[in-house]
């Protein structure tokens, strides 16, 4: 069977699973059995079928599991976003459609050879920094929930950080391929741009007080640096530098401090200073409220979960229990309603997506392609780890999105752009480099 036919078959299977999940969320919400969910399922199916058809023409040899994995994650995300906030669910469906459109456009745009991107690596590098700084520009950026991540363009709001991440990976893939031998020899002057990146990351951290995306971008950078040079000492040095930088800034960043305190000690037996209202409160009722409620939600799932539509996300008087449930905390909703079995299954979908992307990097023939796929693959993994690990209290909680699953337009669209790039690399790797 050809790769694309396997993709179609897998997409169909994913569609069945997703339809069952979405139908139960719909039926639970409507409190009666009807077919109102069908148009939505059909629409989503159609969107991915369109994506598949474009892939069939442009990247016929690309890995057939990538698109179905993304589709299934999207559908699970949609189901839960709809389950939590139906209005956001409808909007998310629109974003997924735009995301698949972006996916198709990238495929069409780079149909001959995506490696042209390498030529503009410095453009991407500079744009990445500019994009990351955008939210700090007065009058343009908006601070939401203490973090400057948003940019207002007319009526539209977007998170430039999501796009910057892709640009950064493209720049690093190009730059590191170019300089890897020199870097491996340890020529000091080649570290200049890298130190610049470190400085940039620190600057962005100070400007946006967003530890999550700083960690994500820097982590991707270190992983790619290691792949390019094979020097573990660089990674260690980088981690030390980042750690030292973050520690030096620790006192200056109230928000980071607060996150770390909450992470170390979410529950207190005595009332402590509450940064939200300045009064004395139990920390679980104040600074760590969100984390603690989310942990209760996860724990309530147990092995089998409550079932879709049967979880508890509201207090008795009907107020939302966990703020930002459909964005940063979507995983705690999934874990409650699907239980350990379902949550582990979702994590395994991410594992599969990461493993397949890394496989693309392994079989790719040129350095730029390898580094590009490795950066994107490790990016998926690290982003998943930072947000889910934050929700699970493995690491301090920082608000970033769960790829393909969380509610949010910028995130969905940029994830599909990344997927398109991986499929382009994959297609070329399998087909072998034509002249």
């Amino acid at each position: 069977m050809s790769a694309r036919n396997r993709e179609l078959l897998t997409l169909f299977l994913a569609g069945l699973v997703a339809s069952a999940a979405f139908a139960s969320a719909w039926i639970a919400d409507a409190a009666q059995i009807d077919q109102g969910w069908l148009p939505y399922a059909a629409l989503l199916g159609g969107v991915f079928l369109a994506g598949h058809l474009v892939a069939r023409v442009i990247v016929p040899e690309a890995d057939p599991t990538l698109l179905p994995l993304a589709a299934l994650l999207c559908a699970i995300g949609l189901t839960f976003v709809y389950r939590i906030a139906p209005e956001d669910g409808r909007r998310q469906l629109g974003w997924v459609a735009i995301g698949v459109l972006a996916f198709a456009l990238v495929l069409v745009w780079l149909r001959y050879d995506y490696r042209v991107l390498e030529r503009y690596k410095y453009v991407f590098g500079v744009s990445a920094i500019v994009l990351l700084m955008l939210p700090s520009v007065p009058g343009l950026g908006e601070r939401i929930n203490g973090v400057k991540l948003w940019v207002n363009v007319g009526p539209l709001q977007f998170q430039p950080g999501e796009i910057a991440k892709i640009f950064l990976v493209i720049f690093l893939a190009g730059y590191l391929r170019d300089k890897r031998e020199a870097l491996a020899r340890g020529r000091l002057k080649d570290f200049g741009p890298l130190l610049l990146i470190w400085g940039g990351a620190m600057l962005v951290l100070v400007q946006t007080s967003d530890l999550g995306s700083a960690l994500l971008n820097f982590g991707i950078f270190l992983a790619m640096l290691y792949v390019a040079t094979g020097k573990l000492s660089y990674v260690v040095a980088g981690l030390v530098l980042f750690g030292a930088g973050a520690a030096a800034l620790y006192n200056a960043l109230d928000r980071v401090q607060q996150r770390v305190t909450v992470w170390l000690e979410p529950w207190t037996d005595e009332k402590v200073y509450c940064t939200i209202n300045g009064a004395l409160e139990y920390r679980q009722n104040c600074d760590s409220y969100q984390l603690v409620k989310s942990l209760y939600s996860i724990a309530n799932g147990g092995y089998g979960g409550t079932g879709i539509g049967n979880g508890t996300f509201q207090t008795v008087d009907g107020t939302q229990l966990i703020p930002y449930l459909q964005t940063d905390f979507v995983y705690s909703a999934i874990a409650q309603e699907l239980g350990l079995v379902g949550a582990a299954a979702v994590l395994l979908l991410f594992l599969a997506l990461v493993a397949r992307t890394m496989r693309v990097a392994l079989i790719a023939q040129d350095g730029f392609s390898k580094l590009l796929a490795a950066g994107l693959g490790f990016g998926f993994a690290l982003q998943t780890f930072i947000i889910v690990g934050g929700v699970l209290r493995l690491v301090p909680l920082t608000g970033i999105t769960l790829p393909f699953v969380s509610y949010g337009g910028s995130s969905i669209v940029s994830n599909f752009v990344m997927l398109a790039l991986v499929m382009l690399v994959s297609n070329r790797a399998v087909r072998g480099a034509p002249a």
Partner: protein, 492 residues
């Protein structure tokens, strides 16, 4: 580059495996601990998805459910059709203020979380069928009509009434004034806080019948008399000379009415007319520990057993700096003053009803209970309370002697206001002075039944901040409540 790539791949996969491990930790290992946390609202919501069992009086519904659909869930909230009539026993179960009363102490039964294995399996099946969990119904022994009579007679006065069936320990009345409407607790708690009565603070949420600690005054003489007879050094005919006062620890303690010393009196007459000096001398002769040991046999120094929450029942006894205190040596206590109910003795109406019940029931104190039976959702009786003996407080002969003295006090003594035609009533008045004329705590304890039969009801009535005596204030309330109770208990 592929060697590095493989390592980075392993690293990436390890990150995600760590997430699976983390999820497993919270959903299995840490789960019970989180579920038990006070601030876990998810558990709270689930509690309100349980169809709680009803709480019934023998013929009235005291607590039922109000069904509401919110956020796609069916929730059950409480409604108390009798309002303030049984508030202190039934309590409340709300979102805003947790629980009180039987709603608190029997939460497990009412929510069906306690039960045998068959019930648990059934419940799991219902859960799968998405049927609500249904709890057991609690049937109490409260006589709502007598309860109403008690509250109405108490009126604006602060105080309490506790009435038992001495033969079984069955609680018939537990009224505390001022009372509150438990239906207001959830959303209109402010109205409860604004309740006023003839005392400050009005404290309507306090169950004065089992949480109210009052100086007993002369009703404690019943305990002293029991100790005196039990010591075999006195008998009802033992003679005393009453000068109108008694010297205790060098201080002169007057009778209630000093203008008329009794002169030569016997013990029976002293109880009939509540002569302080006689009991003061008995107390000094017996010593405090002997009297306290007698009090213990009536149940003092323990929380009186009842199904209401432990925190809503206080033990009676000597208190020092707010804590229950048992003296090590006789000399630590002024036994003379304690013998007629002063000193640092504090008692609850429930405890004093148990004293009256013990005397009336030939010296045997029955274990008080208010829950008659538990009924499963299918209508089967799961558990029925069997009357149980708490202790033999006094010997049968002494019990008969003391009841005769108490009957004399009602027939022609301080408690004449409690007389009821057709019934043999024995009682004892009490007036604990606080030094301020209008702030006496007045008491009446009594038992009553048809002549020649064992008493069918025992009662304790307390009133705060009274200017008059127990005989004129508390005894009439006791009579009215007993009248409300007796016809129903006399014709089973």
């Amino acid at each position: 580059m592929n060697a590095q790539l493989t390592r980075v791949t392993w690293m990436a996969m390890a990150l995600i495996v760590a997430l699976v491990v983390g999820t497993t930790y919270w959903q299995t290992w840490a789960r019970p601990g989180l579920a038990a946390r006070q601030d876990n609202e998810i558990q709270r919501v689930q509690e309100f998805q349980v169809k709680r069992g009803l709480i019934l009086g023998p013929e009235r519904v005291l607590a039922r459910n109000r069904v509401e659909r919110r956020g796609g869930k069916t929730l059950y909230f409480r409604k108390y059709p009798q309002g303030k009539l049984a508030a202190h026993v039934v309590g409340y179960s709300t979102v805003a203020r947790a629980r009180a009363g039987l709603e608190k102490s029997l939460n497990g039964t009412l929510t069906g979380t306690e039960g045998n294995l068959g019930d648990l399996v059934e419940r799991q099946l219902n859960d799968l069928r998405r049927k609500p969990i249904v709890g057991d119904t609690v049937v109490t022994s409260l006589d709502v009509k007598a309860q109403q009579v008690a509250l109405e007679t108490l009126g604006r006065r602060c105080g309490a009434v506790a009435a038992l069936d001495p033969r079984s320990g069955k609680l018939l009345v537990m009224a505390s004034s001022p009372s509150y409407d438990p239906n207001l607790v959830e959303k209109r708690f402010g109205e409860i806080a604004k309740i006023t009565a003839d005392c400050r603070p009005a404290a309507p949420l306090v169950n004065r019948a089992s949480q109210g600690l009052y100086p007993p005054g002369s009703i404690f003489k019943v305990v002293t008399a029991a100790a005196a007879l039990g010591s075999n050094r006195y008998e009802p005919g033992s003679g005393f000379v009453d000068p109108g006062y008694c010297i205790a620890y060098g201080k002169r303690v007057n009778n209630f009415d000093t203008s008329r010393p009794f002169g030569n009196v016997d013990l029976a007459t002293a109880l009939q007319y509540s002569v302080n000096s006689v009991f003061c001398n008995i107390g000094k002769a017996l010593g405090a520990k002997r009297i306290l040991d007698q009090a213990r046999k009536f149940g003092f120094y323990e929380r009186p057993p009842l199904e209401t929450p432990e925190s809503e029942r206080y033990p009676s006894g000597l208190y020092r700096q707010g804590d229950l205190w048992y003296p090590e040596r006789n000399s630590d206590v002024d036994a003379g003053r304690m013998a007629f109910g002063q000193e640092r003795m504090l008692v609850t109406p429930l405890q004093m009803a148990m004293v009256a019940a013990g005397i009336g029931n030939a010296g045997i104190v029955m274990r008080p209970f208010v829950v008659e039976k538990l009924v499963s959702p299918k209508g089967q009786t799961v558990e029925r309370t069997k009357p149980e003996r708490l202790d033999r407080a006094v010997g049968p002969v002494d019990a008969r002697d003391i009841s005769n003295m108490m009957v004399r006090a009602v027939e022609a003594g301080t408690g004449t206001a409690a007389q009821m035609s057709g019934y043999r009533v024995g009682g004892k008045t009490g007036t604990a002075e606080t030094g301020v004329a209008s702030r006496n705590t007045t008491w009446f304890i009594a038992f009553a039944g048809r002549p020649g039969r064992r008493p069918e009801v025992a009662i304790a009535v307390v009133l705060e901040d009274q200017s008059s005596t127990g005989g004129s204030t508390a005894a009439p309330i006791a009579r009215v409540v007993m009248e409300a109770l007796l016809p129903s208990t006399a014709n089973p």
